[in-house]
Assembly symmetry: C2
Homo-oligomer: 410 residues x 2
């Protein structure tokens, strides 16, 4: 229908293994296109802790309900993800499919069903046969390997045009630990909570409660700060697993200074994955970074940034390479956050366009027009009333978005 995103990397990044993790991804015939990868299995060492951030949709999928139920236990031994069928809006049948899948994976991994996390992505409202995944798991388990990252990333793709992975190293005291993960998503992506699917793994040894605090903070600055089309999926799931295989000083609480570099590396990994999702936004031709400063609070800054990022009029103007900054004023105004028209300053591509509520004298549109012809567009908005700041990312709204979404299912 349309080609690969212009932002697709030359190749999938070389991700390091994470001690205590083995993964497998394959084409198992769940999708109509039997050559498309569709199933992921991850096996996690005993003692693995887990944290998660799940969709705030009031109509979540059966797997999201399951993850929400088992997350408070904080323990994980396995992860099963299928693509092509979201197992959402499938009633009691959907719950049963999840339960049988968890049991089947638990048998294979010598674990308890409550230690098996499950996610599904794809079409809503089609029943996923309760035996479909269980009967495919044994063959998949035979292929579990230390470094099957690209297979895993492919197995969770739907309308994505490239597999997404990222990794960072971090120091905890004298030890070095690894953080590596994958993500999928290219539409139905908006905050609250905004993640599509992403699974991140580390060999650090971190209690579940501490892991949860770090993930929540990191998610707010990454997956909760991106938007493609303002729509929120029934299935959004971000999970962080810590296998505990690294040897480092013991971590006991969220504010432990030993964790500072780990939090930095986690945030970088999450932002790397989240921005890849935006860059694969359906029909995206421009990657847009919006910095909001001078808002009443960080929360207000993020809401204003997302109001700009979600505005169809701003997004179409950028698709048309049109420096129509009046639409940015409009989007700031509709955000519902405190603003003062006469203090508002806007810049694009580093060129100041308005200051204190008026176009700057002798504003020259030429350098802004040149900036807009590039792939990366930077918008900076200063609200001029406080110290709140935030950065959000989005893509433009193009003909290809319509083409992709007007006949995704048919």
């Amino acid at each position: 229908m349309t080609g690969v995103s212009p932002f697709a990397p030359q190749r999938f990044p070389a991700l390091p293994p994470v001690a205590g993790l083995r993964v497998a991804g394959a084409a198992t015939g769940l999708k109509k296109n039997t050559e498309a990868y569709d199933l992921l299995l991850a096996a996690l060492a005993p003692g693995t802790t887990v944290a998660g951030v799940l969709t705030r949709s009031r109509c979540p999928s059966a797997p999201v309900d399951w993850c929400r139920k088992i997350l408070p236990r904080g323990r994980a031994r396995g992860l099963v993800v299928n693509s092509g069928n979201a197992n959402a809006f499938t009633g009691v049948a959907g719950d049963r499919t999840v339960a049988l899948t968890a049991e089947a994976a638990a048998r294979l991994l010598d674990a308890r069903p409550q230690e098996i996390f499950i996610a599904s992505t794809g079409v809503i409202g089609n029943v996923l046969s309760e035996h479909a995944i269980p009967q495919r798991l044994p063959a998949l388990a035979d292929g579990l390997a230390d470094q099957a990252w690209v297979d895993a990333a492919r197995a969770i793709m739907t309308t994505d045009t490239f597999p997404k992975g990222a990794a960072r190293r971090a120091r905890i005291g004298d030890a070095e630990v690894t953080i590596a993960g994958i993500a999928k998503g290219s539409g139905m992506i908006a905050p609250d909570m905004a993640t599509m699917l992403s699974f991140v793994f580390t060999d650090a040894k971190v209690p579940a409660a501490v892991l949860q605090a770090a993930l929540r903070r990191g998610a707010d600055r990454s997956f909760n700060s991106i938007t493609v089309d303002s729509d929120t999926s029934t299935s959004d799931t971000l999970l962080l697993f810590a296998t505990g295989q690294a040897r480092h000083a013991k971590i006991t609480h969220a504010a432990d200074p030993l964790l500072r570099d780990f939090r930095r590396a986690l945030e970088e990994t999450l932002i790397d994955l989240a921005t890849q999702v935006v860059k694969d936004g359906e029909g995206a031709s421009k990657f847009i970074t919006i910095d909001v400063t001078g808002a009443a609070s960080a929360r207000a800054a993020r809401r204003i940034g997302l109001s700009i990022a979600n505005s169809p009029l701003v997004k179409t103007a950028i698709a048309g390479e049109d420096a129509n900054w009046g639409r940015i004023v409009m989007a700031v105004g509709k955000a519902g956050e405190e603003a003062d028209r006469d203090r508002l300053s806007i810049a694009m591509g580093g060129v100041q366009i308005t200051r204190n509520g008026q176009p700057v004298p002798d504003y020259d549109e030429a350098p802004v027009a040149r900036h807009l012809k590039g792939r990366n567009v930077d918008i900076a908005v200063d609200i001029g009333i406080g110290r709140g700041r935030a950065r959000v990312w989005t893509c433009d709204l193009t003909h290809d978005y319509i083409a992709i979404n007007a006949d995704y299912r048919s």
Copy 2:
């Protein structure tokens, strides 16, 4: 760029005169295209009362600030509206342009500046010369006439593809009164408050406070229940003028039973105008009516309806004539209102698709597919938890929306 909306009526409706009102609309050279109508003047009889609903944007235009300031006085003698330049984000210069325009119109109409209402629509951020409108008003005033409705409707158009007017008769006691109005808008249209520009006139004699209550109620069920692209303008303005020329029993309070038929007729007029705006939605190929029932409250029902109506994924699916009801589930889920996945029922074109959270047995997509090929699409959603209901209207999201908005300004 693109043609006239497929929903454009064969001809502008025949609107009756309203006693105490004279209007004029003309091409006065404010727009680049000197043949395009661009300026409206209305003269109102002494004693005219006024009510208004204005944009909630935090960055409103100078004319909106002006209207908000003079509305509490409740008196009107004139209305000046220009199209092509929104006089928004124009700082002190914008305020001065408004003040001089009000003074010029007041001189012509033998009124006070505080009795002159002003609205502007068009590009944001371009200064509108303070003399531009005042110097054009005398010639326009010479053309004031009882029945220049189509000129008036044309004078306020921007990207609209057809002029919009509507009228109804109502009884107040033994007397018959007239309600007639015009509207413009085809993009940047969303609730909160959602009106673009609309001006409605009646010869009824109604105190300003009573008029305001009736307008607020009517606006919620009409202009605040439509959306094209979720964007809210800096300039949205809905004004209702009552010239008081009709002879009927005296109205003193908002709950007066004498006003029942007037409220009905006003609501019908507003819905007629508001749905015309949706039918002229930028790029619209389908007119979508969404009925939400069984919500926790009427307010919750409206928010759920608008969440569906604003979803790019729902709107593109309908553009593609795809009965992708899973996206409706998604939009209900993201509305943030109380919902229970397992009680949700969805119908399209009168055909039940899901009931109590699952596809109905033997659901046949064929009649729904046929319904979606038509111009008018009906969606009914029952939340199944309460008695709140609402109806909202929107249009689909098409390639033409992108084409229109990716180069509106250039």
